[in-house]
Point group: D2
Chain length 480, copies 4
């Protein structure tokens, strides 16, 4: 669903790392990398610079260009390795303690850690650790990972050996970028839920959640980190540890194509933009309709609308203008003006829809209320018919792998038929993408995707994950 | 040209006003109205609320959602009339003194004034006023207008009579929204350079530079203010004074369609989005080329690209992703990384252009340097050919009516042929829109447009306007 | 009365100016000068630097060290003349438009103006000016002065001639520092209500409201500006214009000694600290009492307490600790915790007063409520008796010369006897300084002082001043 | 030495806690308590509120009234227990990670901890903990204490039992305030280096570093926490655990009287103000001199000067005015203007010293450079002679118990005789307090004081403390 007023889906993070031969202004490169990954998390961000083992970091709530000004970036100094993180927090509260990267001081040195994903056994691990005397400053999984890494590090000859051992205990989705005094590491869980890619630049290396992060600093794409792989980068170059790679099929989150990633990114060999066009084209085949114009709900619906239009032969039109002057401090209209909430952020281009039968493409429907308001805006602007096509199947099951589709109850599709939803939203017709076509969306990737939120078929046992919800309730507090 | 790092064209202002039957939270409505007009000026903004003649205002440098938080909005109190302003300042310096609206205290009461445009005889009028003892706190035309209004007000029975007299002395482009203790007025210069429209809401009225401002507050479009008209709104309703309307043809700035206004706005009866599509379609007819994909440079090039594609039959593709997390505090890459400047803000969607012959549509070329960098980005991404089409003719003459096309010297087209420019930018071909087609861009408007920046045919004598440049030099200082 | 939570007396301004032979970092010198004069105004401040006629300024609400950081100071550039201002605003609202210095652009150039004082005929002059078409952006007298100066400047051969003519029209209290492109001027009204002194530094000159401003920049005290004098400083040195000096006696505000000025300043040849000690000593003679310890209410009461102690032979003791971590953002206790308001800012040193008969010295009593709370604190701490001595007579009349003793009604002494006030405040005895001794407070100054707020004997006709209160009501709005 | 530009001595913290019968706005009470304790630490501050076991906290760099505004205080919610902390950081860098209180989540619940002092075996304990897999987010002792408490908590039936066990492992100076879900605890190390007192309010309890913190919220002083005592406050009232109390003599830091504590506080039964007067009186006996006036260097020298004056019969005079508009953002003069540094913050009252033989009292001499500048200021102002008297003996040894007298090398007295120091500072004579009189300074306290920084006689083995300096070097980084 269109992310109007933050009511759409959210993922939790973007990560970035860079390794250079010698000291330079790596903080600025992380800054531009995070800026390109900003869409993956707008709650908080941070950068840590490594200068010969001394790690200097800064993190705070806010967008990259709000948290980092020239003075702060300069204060991070020069270094040859650096990592960064952008985070989306589900609470919206003041959770500065959960910002990343995490700097950890342990007996063998220091470490900085940035994490994208969600552990399913975080509560179990946390309880074990607490029983051994560990104390936690935050509620994030990342601190659990940090403890596991530190525990293994004490008994391991190297950071990569410690990571490999720790991976045997971590369950769930995690793409990690971490650095020790002399190394930069990239790690991806064996199921490959979240993306992580490698680029090269002037003999150095870059790790990023998406290729658009590589592009932002002028790095050339090398390859994706494999599911289960540990990539170790140091002065001797890049080497790979694959002992945790599993024979199981990959479980890439399909929403990386549908919604999360930037259209100019290439995830696992497939262009995100092209994948969305294909999703739109498949919708045209699965749910054809006689209409005069195809429009997309910004931002992700636009790519799919182009695909629907091309496949169906119905002309594409610019249906909406989204106000681009977003900011954390925007004052939202009060509850009594809910209709205005949409109008202020999203305005209909009247000429495109007046007197026409309109096909509107969006990426998902969560609660259906914002979508219903958009439909009313179209009708006010003179649309004769409004047919909605959605580039995903209905949400029916919670996600435990790093998105916030976590509660059954507010999902509109849980207890309603498609026709009921269409009626509720004031639509002339509604069509969801067939779950079977999901794996066809990325044209060059055939590794297996996770469709658990539509089908309930989780790639791994998620029984422990339920405990986490209770843990979060127990820890429901703001920590600064 | 794409407004990357603020290097494109700029207009100076957006204005907004509202009149309600009784006191209410009009400040919030102006806030949302200005938020919709934010694209017309990002330097400073302000709101003034009128509560029975007591005018309370706040203005500062920054975007609407930066300057106004809940506390500031609340401090403006309730009222039944309010006006607001967004401003683009050409200097970029700290010119808070030039922010608007201007509150003026004169002997017959108070007045608040918001102005979009540029006077050609401001220097002359200012000198006259200074010789009579007037003092100026700012360098803006608006203070000159305020003095002229005040002088006339002393000898006039009403504010509207004063405005009418003052209009006889003002030369150039001005769309004004002003309020006296009991009235809201909308004024447009006799040539109609800048737009101004009227909406109705719950028995009250709204004035806005563009219809998207009406939409944002849920007002219904009534009509445009006529060139030369004074619209007076008070408790007795709306009435029109047309004694300054001239028989001359209108001179609407064609860039309101091509670049300045929001695509969802309707200016003088013509949809901006549709006008841009028509410009693209005309380019396809005037400068056809054999190609595989048509792409647009965000934001305004996208509308035109859709038109070019539809007319030519070449498929439209998403060529670029523009980073939307803009903000005043973004740290730009240093001068030695000029190529990065574009990359960070604008990334190519590789799948769209790889191995293809590309037609790229943009709205204008000012210096050609940013455009050249974009071309290189496309070639790096694998474009086989790059053909640029521009939805305007070449700039050859300075504008004195409210845009910053003010100096001959930096205009790339002044001393170069089209082929030379194409070579300089690394293009395979380049085509500008024929000046003769400009008046065909808006489909429902045939009132006359200003094309002076292309043709040098100024709708009025601009000899006095040159003095202004010298005046600005004399006053070159920051005032807070 | 102790200025706890801003409830004491307030003056309106401090001014500072510097003239150097050649360009240097004069902004920093004004910064330190204003920092030393901060006690004269905490609402807003500003600095204007003059670099060969180009005036660059910055001003805002806040303390000197809040408004000016390194970046802002640097942005003011270098110059050879600069002026600055600190202001206390009586409203407490957002009155940034009233901040000074004022930069004025007129036909003969520019001018920057900083003003300390209050005109009694401001409303009259303003009405005249408004009838001639002048418009006002602020509600301050300073803009009236600016207009008068500008009007005269048009008909005068020099800025000093214009000032001299304007002085013939201005009535009331004004100490001005102003600069033209090439000159720095210091001006004092013919009655000399507010101080203004001259210092020398490295062949250059400094003007400041108080000598502590000279000390802060290492300037040597030269002399005070004479009442009615215009001091002109330019590349030829300093010269004096005395044509507006009157034969009338001076009317220096006695509160410059009692409360406003800093104890380390020397005003009109008399040390402020010593003057306060003398006031304390006179109280000991006029209102002796058998007691064990003399304490002062910080800050100004402490000097006087030392004098009372020395004269009476009763030991001086440290009675209170005032919390020094003041700041604009301090959250005051709610209304229901009024007693706490005092306690948080001012704590009794129990050892000093326990079981003792205490003489407490303060500089004034306005409403008596804060004083009453202080008395209760002393009794809670074990004071057996509390005798209050006040270094001024009771306030009975409004002040029109730059303090905020402007309303009859809230003055506790207006309708009560001394005994009634003592009872109301819970005192064992209360003694005010005899009005006749006021002129003896400064030991080296015998020029005449203004005692109008005690006696109603105004040095000049104040009938026009009443109009100003109505004017302010008419203009009661916040302007930013 | 006068704390001009932060060059004097510094202590590390102030702590505050409150326990109420039922939920109320305890955050505001901690705010006012910390505001009163602000002199003990200006680097960072924090508050944690406990609402039925859910702990909500906020902390940041800055003064209490900078970090906490109305919105932040409100966001902490209501509760019945709360703790707070003000901290002085020795580095001055961005060490937000070291701010307190610390919230710790462990298996048996949560805990919030605020600490004043310094462990001598922190490095040893930290290494032990790291070897067991503990990870550290900060460089502060407080995190070490938190781990020790948590480790013991896992094996203890109650929080107080855990504290008691942990105390057996902690060496050095610590006054702690901590809270579990249902209890507020106050803890003082067995030597009693740092103060901690108990107050009562409406049936509830308050803990504070100094009595001025009790006064600020209207609490009545009950008693000091005993060295080695654990005070446990819960719904059943207050009880004491004294099993860690040692028979050794107490070791209260004498600088609590001389410099750190506020004069209105009563530490261990003795008034700080009176103690300082006694120190001044003892100086008069030990180092008499023929002089005309006694002055004190603000702030702490003033109390002692009153004592010197009373004992010697030489009149007390106000020697200096200290600018009170301090703030973190004040721009200090550059290095080449070192003399100005003092002048801007501290100005001489010329009338007091001109032509006189002056005795100047200060609390200490660290490097002697600031003191030397002050002497020059006095001579410039006309002082005939300047005799300095210091209310402490010369510093000769580093302190390991919570002040920053940590390096031998910069202490002026280490390699110079008193006469050499006097000559270096431009003094006519110099006298330090005899170490033997230190224990006589507090009139009601005879428990033993720590004089290690003068005598090298440390109350406990400090050999491990040296390791800490190396640890800090290893961890020399900024963490946010």
């Amino acid at each position: 669903m269109a992310n109007i007023f933050g009511q759409g889906l959210h993922e939790e993070c973007g990560v970035f790392g860079i390794f250079r031969d010698s000291n330079s202004d790596v903080a600025a490169e992380v800054y531009y990398g995070l800026y390109a990954l900003q869409h993956r998390g707008q709650e908080s961000c941070g950068i840590v610079v490594n200068d010969g083992g001394v790690m200097t970091g800064y993190k705070d709530n806010g967008l990259v260009n709000e948290v980092f000004d020239h003075k702060v970036l300069t204060s991070l100094g020069q270094g040859n390795i650096a990592v960064g993180h952008v985070r989306y927090g589900t609470t919206g509260g003041n959770t500065r303690a959960n910002a990343q990267p995490l700097i950890i001081n342990h007996i063998k040195g220091s470490m900085a850690l940035a994490h994208n994903g969600n552990l399913t056994n975080a509560a179990t691990l946390r309880e074990e650790l607490e029983l051994q005397g560990s104390i936690f400053h935050s509620t994030s999984d990342t601190e659990v990972i940090a403890y596991e890494l530190t525990k293994q590090r004490l008994q391991s000859p190297s950071i990569e050996a410690a990571v490999s051992r720790a991976m045997k205990r971590l369950r769930g989705a995690y793409s990690l970028v971490l650095m020790s005094p002399a190394k930069l590491l990239g790690v991806r869980d064996p199921f490959g839920f979240r993306p992580l890619c490698i680029g090269t630049i002037d003999g150095g290396y870059v790790l990023a959640s998406e290729t658009c992060g590589l592009d932002a600093v002028g790095a050339a794409f090398l390859r994706d980190v494999l599911p289960g792989e540990i990539v170790v980068i140091d002065k001797d170059g890049l080497r790979s540890i694959t002992e945790n790679c599993l024979p199981c099929p990959k479980s890439l989150c399909v929403f990386e194509y549908i919604y999360f990633s930037r259209p100019d990114s290439v995830v696992e060999g497939s262009s995100v933009h092209t994948a969305r066009r294909r999703a739109g084209a498949m919708l045209a085949l699965q749910h054809p309709v006689a209409a005069d114009v195809v429009i997309g709900v910004p931002d992700s619906g636009i790519d799919a609308a182009l695909g629907y239009a091309a496949q169906s032969g119905i002309p594409y039109g610019l249906g909406f203008i989204k106000n681009k002057y977003i900011g954390r401090t925007f004052i939202q209209p009060g509850q009594q003006q809910r209709e205005s909430q949409v109008r202020i952020k999203l305005n209909v281009v009247g000429d495109t829809v007046r007197g026409k039968r309109v096909v509107m493409i969006d990426d998902s429907i969560v609660r259906g209320t914002t979508g219903g308001r958009i439909v009313r805006l179209l009708r006010e602007a003179g649309a004769k018919e409004v047919h909605m096509r959605v580039t995903a199947p209905p949400f029916l099951y919670p996600c435990f792998f790093g998105t916030d589709i976590s509660s059954h109850d507010y999902l509109v599709a849980k207890h309603r038929s498609v026709d009921e939803i269409a009626a509720m939203m004031g639509l002339d017709s509604l069509g969801y993408l067939d779950p079977a076509s999901l794996e066809l969306i990325p044209d060059n990737y055939r590794g297996g995707i996770c469709t658990a939120c539509f089908t309930g078929e989780y790639p791994l046992d998620v029984s422990e994950a339920q405990d986490k919800l209770e843990l979060e309730k127990r820890l429901s507090r703001k920590i600064e």
